[in-house]
């Protein structure tokens, strides 16, 4: 069985400072991992994904995440927060099997960016 724990339900940063959203996962196989972002009243948008290639994954809007198998972590970072980054972020794990790749979502982290 797979699961995801997002360690912070809320994170608040000032504009221009670094962002760190923490995620730990549990998976029986070699997982694929994703970060999705959800802006208010908008659909989920893929930020980045890891699928067993390079452990440091670069995504859109300056976000990146590092897969650390020994720590079972996949933390999301950004060097400098922008006001438009304020949203809900979901860490997601997937184990592919013959029945497809069901996504398991974490509980989400709400990122607030202060001017």
């Amino acid at each position: 069985a797979q699961s995801v724990t997002q360690l912070d339900s809320h994170v608040s940063v000032s504009e221009g400072t670094p962002v760190l959203l923490r995620c730990n996962y549990s998976s029986s196989y070699s997982p694929s991992l994703f970060w999705y972002v959800q802006h208010p009243n908008k659909g989920l948008q893929l930020l980045l994904k890891y699928t067993s290639a390079a452990t440091l994954v670069k995504g859109i809007n300056g976000f990146e995440a590092e897969f650390k198998k020994s720590e079972t972590s996949f933390h999301l970072t950004k060097p400098s927060a922008h006001m438009s980054d304020a949203a809900e972020y979901f860490c997601v794990v997937s184990d592919y099997d013959n029945a497809g790749n069901m996504l398991t979502f974490g509980g989400g982290t709400r990122l607030m960016v202060k001017p």
Binding site: F90, A99, G100, N101, T104, G106, G108
Partner: protein
């Protein structure tokens, strides 16, 4: 091109009524997923279609929930005898279904269901 679309965007119904929620996936995508997102939580898997068949319906909470995809494109999620606890945002996602591995799923904007 067009993304995943869902209709209606909002649905208000009364307890005990029947509702249908529609999902139109990205053209050519053979894999289609339904998820449910309750307030303040992450989405939870409901059902997965590959083509016309439900390959995995292990996430459906009970037999009041049913989904179909008769022609392998549009899907309808059907909820009978709605209960207040069914209130949530219902999300649909699609992927190409051709990669033979983990694929990126593209999500629609969701249908917000409120059961009074």
């Amino acid at each position: 091109g067009a993304g995943v679309s869902q209709t209606p965007s909002n649905k208000v119904t009364e307890k005990g009524k029947y509702v249908e929620l529609r999902c139109d996936p990205i053209s050519g995508h053979t894999a289609l997923y339904w998820y449910r997102q309750s307030l303040g939580q992450g989405p939870e898997f409901l059902i997965y279609f590959q083509g016309t068949g439900a390959a995995d319906d292990s996430g459906l909470p009970n037999d009041r929930f049913f989904a179909v995809r008769p022609e392998g494109s549009v899907s309808t999620l059907k909820i009978q005898r709605t209960e207040r606890g069914d209130s949530a945002v219902y999300l649909c996602a699609s992927s190409s279904g051709l990669a033979g591995g983990v694929e990126t799923q593209y999500f629609g904007p969701g249908t917000r269901l409120l059961v009074l």
